[in-house]
């Protein structure tokens, strides 16, 4: 057993942390509240090779491990960086795999990977929700199939699996909304995904090739999102603890009251577990691939639950000030909730955990309601 980072991993982490300290002060996060995206900051990321970190060398990539991608995600989460790192990493690796693999259109996958690597365009992805709660998304086969897409307001193309085939869907026509106002100040937009026989819609793969590709990409996104949430929550806990040490009431620092101290301690405990689980999932991606999707799902569900709890406790520690826009803790609280929900939320994810752990797949899990079963 070894829970240390090697030297190159430490360097990677500090490179991004230092860049973010310089380029992504909380002031920038606040300036991006209305867009959820900073093109300037994203170009700093690209200068450090963020978009090619996880790509194979054949695309000029750096062929880094999931743990290394995770460290960048964690540093980004700490800084609340308004950049599409998770989407670019997961979509890029999916596209690169189909460019070299046995999909239907390796040429299109290759072109999309190259554009992403060069930084001229990027794809986001629609995260599959096999256990979506009824009424929270339109049906795949409905005429006006639309989905909320993370960084959909700035993505050039979207990867979408409809249960049969994996599509690469592009073009301004498809983006049905500008950036939508959301509680996490993200860059979510609505994309239209029906009429998939049109020219702006390419089948990249079908059948089991498509299923495996989207399952892996979804698991990688979730793993990296877990790292992001862990970083976010660790910073939120620091802010909350610092406030508890300094805020004086009844003549003493409030952190000396068990009513304040114990929830923070419990959050710290659960958060340590979330970091360990994210590490384990990243490690499993290479060492125990058969377990990877299940552990990545666990890491995401737990990070979502833990980041929600930690940011809530830290905000509450601030008393009324935590609710004031002027204080930074509310930025963390809102973003923790948003990133957890964009993929369906922790309760849906728990069902994925069960399905992946017990049956090995979350794609053909049993129907979730009687009415669905009849249909």
């Amino acid at each position: 057993m070894d829970l240390t980072l090697d030297e190159s991993q430490e360097i990677l982490r500090s490179t991004f942390s230092e860049m973010l300290e310089r380029e992504c002060p909380i002031k920038l996060v606040r300036e991006c509240e209305d867009t959820g995206y900073s093109a300037t900051l994203w170009s700093r990321y690209q200068e450090l090779g963020a978009q090619i970190m996880g790509l194979p060398e054949s695309f000029g990539g750096l062929d880094m491990s999931l743990l290394e991608l995770g460290l960048v995600a964690q540093a980004s989460g700490r800084a609340l960086a308004p950049v599409p790192f998770l989407e670019v990493a997961a979509a890029g690796r999916l596209l690169a795999g189909l460019a070299d693999g046995d999909g239907d259109r390796p040429d299109r996958a290759r072109a999309a990977t190259e554009a992403l690597a060069e930084g001229t365009a990027f794809s986001s992805l629609v995260l599959p929700r096999p256990f979506a709660v009824l009424g929270t998304q339109s049906r795949v086969d409905a005429e006006n199939c639309e989905r909320l897409v993370p960084f959909g307001s700035v993505a050039d193309e979207v990867l979408f699996h409809d249960g049969h085939a994996l599509y690469l869907i592009g073009g301004a026509e498809r983006r049905r909304s500008a950036r939508l106002e959301d509680s996490g100040s993200g860059a979510i937009a609505r994309w239209g995904l029906s009429e998939r026989e049109h020219d702006d819609c390419v089948v990249l793969a079908r059948g089991s090739v498509a299923e495996k590709a989207i399952a892996r990409a979804s698991a990688e996104w979730k793993l990296l999102a877990a790292f992001w949430l862990v970083g976010l929550a660790q910073r939120a806990l620091e802010i909350g603890s610092e406030y508890a040490r300094e805020r004086i009431q009844f003549g003493v620092p409030i952190g000396g009251f068990q009513g304040i101290a114990h929830p923070l301690a419990e959050a710290a405990t659960r958060l340590d577990g979330a970091e360990l689980l994210a590490w384990e999932a990243a490690w499993a991606g290479e060492a125990e691939p058969a377990r990877f999707e299940a552990v990545a799902s666990m890491a995401f569900a737990w990070a979502a639950q833990t980041a929600g709890r930690t940011t809530d406790v830290s905000l509450h520690t601030h008393g009324g000030y935590g609710f004031a826009s002027e204080y930074d803790i509310q930025l963390f609280y809102r973003r923790a909730g948003a990133l957890a929900s964009i993929a369906g939320g922790a309760r849906e994810e728990l069902q994925c955990v069960a399905a992946l752990s017990l049956t090995g797949t979350a794609t053909n899990a049993p129907p979730f309601t009687a009415s669905e079963r009849k249909a």
């Binding site: 057993m1 068990q258 710290a268 384990e280 569900a301 955990v353 017990l358 049993p366």
Partner: protein, 387 residues
């Protein structure tokens, strides 16, 4: 980064599973549950004969020289199998302590007898008036020539009714500076003035209350210096806190999972219900996190690094998450979840019923979660002392 415990630990897992298969039959397991005392001499001596009682001690003094990952695996497998292992756990620790702090005489006379399985110990720390505040112990040891006279009462002295000795915390100075006036003695359970009474619990475990009336022990029964017993106790509690219950959580998860996948009369499985899936996901995560926290504590020990409050985190998380899951499954399982193992109609082999009764104590003994959270807040978050 590597999450494998290593080949030596894998080997221990194979060995101890083989031991359990051979000696610890289903009949033995049920006997251990019915007895609830946490120790079985017959089983214990079989373990000792294969060197497991002294497995964690250094080789130089006749131990097995097993590393922390091997010991973790040993305890994990025994506990998960329902083996009555408390005597083993106490012996492992007390052997260590005597070797570190005991007199030459104690090392020569007691250590080999512990290793061979001849004798076992109970831990005598808690008292009716000293629970979480264990340093407030009032059981008094007073000098009388070359002897000491012990008077007082101990509580929660599990295995005292089967052990030959109690490793006992006593007060040898005034309460003014509670942590500095404590001394440890090895008290024979058959000494005159020792009265052991059972304390039965809703979890099915039998513990004890021990009354001490003018119990005379020689000075040679003292372990460590007079008034310096607190460090020894802290060390012992630290060991216990770094473990948690992930092994039991793993067994619980396996039972819940197996039940969820059982086809019912209509061909449906509990797993097909989203409420069951959701709780399975939660229980699987809790179990995995408890396991990882315990592995981290073990790794820190193996590397000789400072545990900080990481041990406290391990126990606090494991205790509270296991309790939460036990109660959650009871809420899901309806009346069938009330039924004990072996009753017709019991589900998950009665494990929901059993865990519902057994888990509340986990967040209490060996350091309540409140004590642990205060420690975490102080050590990990730099908050002021909150008690």
């Amino acid at each position: 980064m590597d999450f494998h415990l290593g080949e030596k630990a894998d080997e221990v897992r194979r060995e101890i599973r083989a031991f359990l298969t051979e000696h610890f039959t289903e009949e033995e397991r049920q006997r251990a549950v019915a007895d609830g005392g946490g120790h079985d001499w017959d089983m214990y001596r079989k373990l000792a004969a294969e060197g497991w009682v002294s497995a964690g001690w250094p080789k130089e003094i006749g131990g097995g020289g097993r590393d922390p990952f091997e010991m973790l695996t040993l305890y994990w497998e025994l506990c998960k199998a329902g083996f009555p292992w408390i005597g083993l756990l106490n012996s492992g620790f007390i052997g260590h302590t005597i070797m570190a702090l005991g007199t030459e005489d104690q090392k020569k006379n007691l250590v080999p007898r512990i290793a061979s399985g001849e004798i076992a110990f109970a831990l005598g720390y808690s008292e009716p008036g000293a629970g979480s505040d264990v340093a407030a112990a009032r059981t008094a040891a007073t000098r009388d020539g070359d002897d000491w006279i012990i008077d007082g009462q101990k509580m929660w002295t599990t295995t005292a009714h089967v052990a030959q000795y109690i490793f006992m915390l006593t007060r040898t100075a005034t309460l003014d500076r509670p942590h500095r006036g404590l001394t440890l003695f090895i008290v024979p359970t058959d000494a005159e003035g020792v009265d052991i009474q059972p304390v039965h619990t809703m979890g099915g475990e039998r513990s004890n209350a021990v009354y001490l009336t003018k119990v005379r022990v020689p000075d040679s029964a003292r372990v460590g210096e007079v008034d310096k017993g607190w460090a020894v106790v802290r060390f012992a509690l630290g060991l216990e806190q770094a473990m948690g219950f992930a092994d039991l959580q793993e067994r619980f998860l396996e039972k819940a999972s197996a039940w969820a996948l059982e086809e019912q009369a209509g061909g449906e499985r509990p797993f097909d219900d989203p409420r069951v899936r959701e709780q399975l996901g939660q229980t699987a995560i809790h179990t995995e996190v408890a396991r990882l926290l315990r592995h981290r504590s073990t790794w820190l020990s193996a590397e000789g690094m400072n545990l900080g409050a990481k041990g406290a985190m391990t126990k606090s998380f494991s205790a509270s998450s296991y309790l939460e899951d036990a109660q959650a499954w009871t809420r899901i399982g309806g009346p069938a979840a009330l039924l004990a193992e072996g009753q017709p109609g019991a589900i998950a082999e009665g494990s929901f019923e059993e865990a519902f009764r057994q888990t509340p104590v986990n967040s209490i003994y060996g350091g309540t979660v409140e004590i642990l959270r205060s420690l975490i807040a102080e050590v990990e978050l730099g908050l002021p002392k909150s008690r």
